[in-house]
Symmetry: C2
Subunit: 243 residues, 2 copies
């Protein structure tokens, strides 16, 4: 069975304006690789209803899972939940279970839950909650779309709760060699290895450090024997690179 | 005249696998904001011909500019230039001016230019070169698509050369206040300010530091007077936050 595929949709003006450097894509990309879900695409869109709906509908039609980040807080610019409901054509309202979670949280803190904060209990019809212990306000899954917070600490907590509930695949094994030869001079050998092991991807990433122009070569695939065989071929070609 | 719009297309398996944390999107997003080009969308796709062509054609049809990062080196996994040519339906081959740049560079270094490295002189018909002094290998612009390297130092050098050649717009002014009150408790005031100043975007980003739950409020817009007026209203509501 092939690995499940996934896309990430990052929602937020602050990423597009360059104010904030994304951390969530990087975190989730690594976690998905670990559990054998193949991340195929990432999109970043602004806090704009139509843009979110269009991206959601494009991505959920073409990937097994879509993970979103951002826009589920209590303020006027938090419009993700409504956009998700619109994309699925379902209603949305404050829901009892989500409200209960917020009420319990605020009671523990000894502060009043306002009408505004109740916005965080607005859940599209048919969704299941993604609880988190960091902020208390839940994310949710509906169909193949998983809606999570943008604040990195909360996003990570939600990912940690969500991922074990999804069917994983065969984790992609990744092995790396640092070769102190410029990319252009080892390209023929890399192409030959890639051709010999078609199920293995051979990536090359040039670096320049202290006057040394070299190449980090990454050999990746779900068949660990094939990855090791390709790595052996690489080490035969460039013996000094074996670590 | 409205600001030009833009999209960024990041090409590379290493971003989607979580091996590499993107730096180029973050850098270019800030630079575009500075010159008044509105970044509306970012996509990340793998080193896959069809995925690159499809994303390029979708983005170049809907934005004034598309900036790409990655996949223009000499190795077998560098397929961006060919994908761009395919997206535009034009031919691609080693071109004299690009070849001349590489030959001069390699002559200066006293090393031989191989057939493989000549791949970096493959330029789609009708494109203009984006020179860079870091690696020597040029990027290129064709139509409204600007094709640049993935290595961050080279990408930055190309952005620095390219951006001054593009028509900019009205830079978006951004002012920020740190308010030590949770987002949920200031949401009504923020919504009122956003409603009073429709040309201004009011973003709120919760933080949690040393036990303080607060909110960074970002007021942005191209009309600096409106931004200052909105900021004044914010400072009236939350006097302690004025810096």
């Amino acid at each position: 069975m092939p690995n499940p595929t996934a896309a990430i949709l990052i929602i937020g003006d602050e990423i597009l304006s360059g104010r904030t450097r994304d951390a969530n894509m990087y975190h989730l990309a690594g976690e998905l690789t670990r559990v054998g879900i193949d991340l195929r695409e990432v999109r970043v869109v602004p806090d704009d209803h139509d843009a979110i709906v269009a991206a959601l509908n494009a991505l959920r039609a073409t990937h097994d899972h879509v993970f979103t980040s951002g826009g589920i807080g209590p303020t006027h610019d938090d419009i993700t939940a409504d956009a998700v409901a619109a994309a699925f054509g379902v209603g949305i309202d404050v829901r009892g279970d989500a409200r209960g979670i917020l009420e319990a949280l605020f009671a523990r803190k000894g502060i009043e839950l306002t009408e505004t904060q109740l916005r965080m209990a607005r859940i599209p019809d048919g969704a299941t909650l993604i609880v988190n212990d960091v902020s208390g306000a839940p994310g949710f899954s509906i169909g193949n779309v998983h809606v999570m917070a943008g604040v990195p600490g909360i996003f990570r907590a939600m990912v940690a709760v969500l991922l074990p509930t999804l069917r994983g695949g065969t984790p992609r094994v990744s092995r790396e060699r640092r070769i102190e030869i410029g990319e252009g001079r080892i390209a023929p050998q890399l192409a030959a290895i890639a051709a010999e092991f078609p199920g293995v991807s051979v990536g090359s990433y040039p670096f320049s450090e202290n006057g040394v122009h070299g190449t980090n070569v990454v050999v990746r695939g779900t068949d660990s024997l094939a990855v090791e065989a390709a790595l052996s071929r690489l080490d035969e070609q460039f013996p000094l690179s074996a670590s």
